[in-house]
Every structure is written in structure tokens, then in C-alpha cells.
């Protein structure tokens, strides 16, 4: 698989404070990555370093397997950092034309990308007249201008109202579907959960986890069951090899799993013991639970 970005032992100290501490990870083509971590965990600093605006204290990084210089690599990516930065007196089109000149690409995609983010009707208004949501969408259009090999988004929904958040998320999901590699930094877990296949978890500048979302905790979720014959069901469940723990609750039993299960097989086995289930469903652990668990363990 093609590696887009490889970070090796990257560190950044701000006058004694370790903002990023020996972080290493790899971004491979075609995945959607989330960088998770509470505020101040070093997400933006890490991105700033690979985007050539923050000087690393130590360590290194390599774009596109080292086949190009850093600033040429940046012409092939699209990135938005924290808040949209444009020239206030220029219109959307003028701002995007400037980006085309910097990236050395033709200007013919400007209208197309403005359509993607729903800004075509306001393309000739000065940037300073835009609302925050529109500014953020213009930033996304700008990042898409070169049909980037990777799109880097740092807190893209920060400070937006619910409609704005929804709009940005729809756009991101649309882009992810088209097969573009995405690196999304956020402290909003559900945001990451909705789009990401892989996560990198940072805390106090250190990498806690890097890998697929599902494998984060070797966790297989929880099965919820219920039956009229609760005593029978309890005895049945206690004997099962996949059950780590069985807990009775108001609405039935909650079984924590230690391996993947086939719900149909469970149903058949219970029926054999003359227990008819009136409730049976599997619930995956949310990213939030996993995240909290992970950050607590370490």
C-alpha cells in the first residue's frame, strides 16, 4: 500500500513544555484517519509540523515516501488549519485564484469546487462579508482545488452552528466516499466515529493508539437479551464461553463479549434449552467509551 505520510519520532518543545512527544505514525492511501485527543494534546502542533509551519524540535517526517521536497508535497495536499485564513478584501474567486497560483495549477476548477461547498452564488462577495460557516466552506473548496491526494482537516466544525456542522460533515463524507485519503483532527468523538476507519489517539503529546477503529480495545461489544424465563436465561448465559460477564438490568441481561458472536446461533441454542428470547441485539461500544477507557488505562 502506498504511504502518503510517515512521521518518525516527532517532538516539539515549547519552552520546557513537551507539546508533542516522540510521535510516530503512518498514513496510508485510501483510509480516513482521525487524530483524537483532548484540547492541548498536540494535534494541531503535529499537523503544523508536517505542514511546514511549525519547526520540529526533533524527529522527522516524510511525504509521499520521500519522492519530493516538502513544499512541493504540500502542493499535492489540501489542508485547513483551525480557522479559515484568507485575504479579507478579496472575493472568494480572487482568493481561490491566488491559491491556484501558489499551487501552480490551472484556475478552471474554481467554479466546480465552489459548487461542491455551495458557495457559487456568493463567489463575488468579499471574504470579509462571509459568515463563519461560509468561511469554513470556502476553506474546504480551497483545499480541494488541486484534487488533493490527502485532505487534512483540523477541527473543521469548530465554532459552527448545528446546520453548519451538518453541512461540513456531509461534505467530508462525500469526499471520503470518493476515495480521497483524509486526516481529520478533532476532539469531537462522534464526528470522528462517523467518518473514520483509522484513529490515532494522542494525550499530552504522546501516541496512545494508532490503528483501525474496530481494533482499538480488542472489544467485541455487548449483547442485550431478555426472556420471560429470566432464571433459565441467566443459567444458560453463565455457561457460554463468549460471556465475560452477565449483568441483570431492568430491561434484561447485558453480556460483555470476549469474541465475535453469531446472534442467530445464540438464538438457536437458547431455543434448544426451551428459552424463547423476546429481545436480542448486539451493541458495539461507542468510540467515546473506548476512548475514555483507553485514556484511563494509560
Amino acid at each position: 500500500m502506498k504511504t502518503i505520510l510517515e512521521i518518525k519520532n516527532l517532538s516539539k518543545n515549547y519552552s520546557g513544555l513537551k507539546a508533542v512527544d516522540n510521535v510516530s505514525f503512518k498514513i496510508e492511501k485510501g483510509h480516513v484517519y482521525g487524530i483524537l485527543g483532548p484540547n492541548g494534546s498536540g494535534k494541531s502542533t503535529t499537523l503544523g509540523m508536517v505542514l511546514n509551519v511549525v519547526n520540529p524540535t526533533s524527529g522527522s517526517y516524510e511525504w509521499f515516501e520521500g519522492t519530493t521536497t516538502n513544499h512541493d508535497a504540500l502542493k499535492r495536499i489540501g489542508a485547513i488549519i483551525e480557522r479559515p485564513n484568507f485575504y479579507p478584501s478579496m472575493t472568494a474567486v480572487q482568493n481561490l485564484e491566488l491559491v491556484c497560483k501558489i499551487k501552480n495549477i490551472p484556475k478552471d476548477k474554481i467554479e466546480e469546487k465552489l459548487t461542491v461547498v455551495d458557495l457559487l452564488s456568493r463567489r463575488h462577495s468579499p471574504f470579509s462579508t462571509y459568515s463563519l460557516g461560509m468561511k469554513q466552506r470556502l476553506a474546504i473548496a480551497s483545499a480541494l482545488l488541486n484534487d488533493p491526494e490527502i485532505l487534512i482537516l483540523d477541527e473543521p466544525t469548530n465554532g459552527l452552528d448545528p446546520q453548519g456542522i451538518r453541512k461540513i460533515r456531509d461534505i467530508i463524507q462525500e469526499i471520503a466516499k470518493s476515495g480521497t485519503t483524509i486526516l481529520l483532527a478533532s476532539h469531537l468523538l462522534d464526528e470522528v466515529e462517523k467518518v473514520c476507519t483509522h484513529v490515532i489517539v494522542l494525550r499530552q503529546g504522546k501516541t496512545l493508539y494508532c490503528g483501525a477503529v474496530d481494533e482499538m480495545n480488542h472489544n467485541h461489544g455487548v449483547v442485550h437479551l431478555d426472556s420471560v424465563n429470566r432464571d433459565g436465561l441467566f443459567d444458560f448465559l453463565k455457561g457460554q464461553p463468549y460471556a465475560v460477564s452477565v449483568k441483570e438490568e431492568m430491561e434484561g441481561f447485558k453480556v460483555v463479549l470476549n469474541q465475535p458472536v453469531d446472534l442467530g446461533a445464540i438464538n438457536a441454542a437458547a431455543f434448544e434449552k426451551n428459552i424463547s428470547l423476546n429481545k436480542l441485539f448486539l451493541k458495539k461500544q461507542s468510540l467515546e467509551d473506548q476512548f475514555i477507557q483507553l485514556t484511563n488505562h494509560n
Binding site: L51, N52, H71, L74, K75, F86, K101, I102
Partner: protein, 280 residues
């Protein structure tokens, strides 16, 4: 280079302050051209300024470059605000993320400074030529295009000043403070002048003669010396007062050219170093 100039002029073209200040600059230059019509009455001489012979070739080259030099502050504000606003709008950061290298960024600003210095030189050339053709008593080609060393001197002093502005913008990141810094530096040079003149007077030394060629603003201003005492009527007046012959070298001296070039280089080099070491 073409790409970098294109990028920089895109920013220049769509910036409100640069448009307004450039227009002010041009308007003042044009107004100055009409001063030839002003009627004066000095030392028993009556008539318009043009009758004084101040628009004669080749004297006009000296006079106009000297006068128009004062207007460079308008263009300087443009450069300072274009540079410092890149910081306050955080577009500098976005430019870098979009794939401009830090070296290219400083180079593009330098190209802008060079181009603006060239353009202002062109403007003063055209204005002087027009004025001279209207009012000059001598129109022989050999005289019209003689003693034009003031034009390259004008270019060099402007370039040095623009590089200084660029450096100030990069250093302090806010246009108002950057202009303040330039003002403070100018005052500092005056203070140094006062101190060294005092020392010269007290210990009978000649320090100012050396220092004036080292300080950036002072040495740039020495590139084009004041032209007024060259006017025969003024010179005559001074000679009457001092009862002696008034002799002064009005030429462009190479030491000041060298100093300005060195300062220009240093300002650009330091800007690059600052940009490179700073986190954005």
C-alpha cells in the same frame, strides 16, 4: 520568478490600502509637476519657479529625484501593510500550507520591492522628462540625458527603504507597530547624529563623517544630496553672506551606494532568518 511576481501582484492588486496609497502617490507627483507655475519673489527676482531655471536639464534630474524621494513613505506603507497583514490575517501560514516555501515567500516580497522601486523610478523619470521638455532652456540631446546618475541613486535608496519596511513588517507582525519601528529608528539615527556631532565638537574628532555612511537611513538620504544650493541665485546669496566661494560635491558617492546595497541584502537576509526560525 514570474510566478512569484504574479502571486505578489495579485495580493497588491486586490488590497484596498495599496490601491489608495498608490493613487495618492501618483496624484502628489502630478501636483508637484505643476509647481513650475507658482509665482515667486525672492532676492529681487520676480517670476514663476520655472523662470529660475530649476527645470533646466540636467539640473531637473537632481531636483525631482530629491523632491519625489520624500513621497516614498506612501509606497513604504503599502509594503509594510502587505507584509504585516500576512501575519495578522494568518494568510502567511495558509500560503506556506498551500505550498509556498519560506524562501519563495521572502523572494516574492523582495521582487515586489524591486518592482515598486523600478516603477517609482520610471515615474520620476517620465515626470522629469516631461517637465524638462516643457520648461528647460536647453533641449540638446547631450544635455537632456546628462548627469542622470540621480535616477539609479533614487532606485537604490528606494529599494533599501522598501527592504527596511519589509524587514520591519516581518519582525513586528503588525503594520502600525512596524511603521512605529521605522519612525523610532529614524529618531534614533537623529539622536546618534546629535551625540556624535557633540563628541566631534568636544574632542575635535570626525566621527559623524564616518557614521553617516553606515546608518541605513542617513546613508540612503546622502545618495541624493540637497539640490537647492546648486541654484545660482541661492548660491549667490550664500556667497554674499559668507564672503567666500561655496563649493560642494553634489555627485552620487559610491560609498553610499555600497552601504545601501549591503543594508538591503541584510534586511532581506534577516527577514528570511526570522521567518525560518519562527513557528506560525
Amino acid at each position: 520568478m514570474k510566478r512569484l511576481l504574479d502571486i505578489e501582484f495579485h495580493k497588491f492588486k486586490y488590497s484596498k490600502s495599496s490601491k489608495i496609497l498608490t493613487i495618492i502617490y501618483l496624484v502628489i507627483v502630478i501636483l508637484l509637476m505643476f509647481t513650475g507655475l507658482i509665482q515667486v519673489d525672492i532676492n529681487g527676482f520676480k517670476g514663476s519657479l520655472s523662470d529660475l531655471g530649476i527645470f533646466n536639464f540636467p539640473y531637473i534630474w537632481h531636483l525631482s529625484t530629491y523632491m519625489v524621494s520624500f513621497l516614498k513613505i506612501f509606497i513604504a506603507i503599502v509594503i509594510v501593510s502587505l507584509t504585516a497583514n500576512e501575519y495578522s490575517n494568518r494568510t502567511l501560514k495558509q500560503n506556506l500550507i498551500d505550498g509556498l516555501s519560506k524562501k519563495e515567500l521572502i523572494l516574492s516580497k523582495l521582487y515586489l520591492a524591486i518592482t515598486l522601486a523600478l516603477l517609482t523610478t520610471m515615474i520620476v523619470f517620465i515626470a522629469s522628462l516631461t517637465l524638462g521638455l516643457f520648461y528647460s532652456d536647453y533641449l540638446e540631446i547631450g544635455i537632456v540625458f546628462s548627469k542622470m546618475e540621480y535616477l539609479p541613486a533614487f532606485f537604490i535608496s528606494h529599494l533599501m527603504f522598501f527592504c527596511f519596511c519589509l524587514f520591519a513588517g516581518v519582525l513586528v507582525k503588525r503594520s502600525a507597530f512596524a511603521l512605529g519601528l521605522i519612525g523610532v529608528w529614524w529618531i534614533l539615527e537623529l539622536v546618534i547624529r546629535g551625540l556624535s556631532s557633540f563628541i566631534d565638537f568636544k574632542y575635535e574628532l570626525d566621527t559623524w563623517n564616518v557614521i553617516q555612511h553606515i546608518l541605513p537611513l542617513e546613508s540612503a538620504s546622502l545618495l541624493i544630496k540637497e539640490p537647492f544650493t546648486k541654484i545660482s541665485i541661492v548660491q549667490g546669496g550664500i556667497e554674499q553672506l559668507t564672503q567666500g566661494q561655496y563649493i560642494k560635491d553634489y555627485g552620487v558617492s559610491l560609498i553610499n551606494v555600497a552601504t545601501s546595497m549591503v543594508w538591503s541584502f541584510l534586511f532581506i537576509f534577516w527577514s528570511y532568518k526570522i521567518l525560518k526560525s519562527r513557528d506560525l
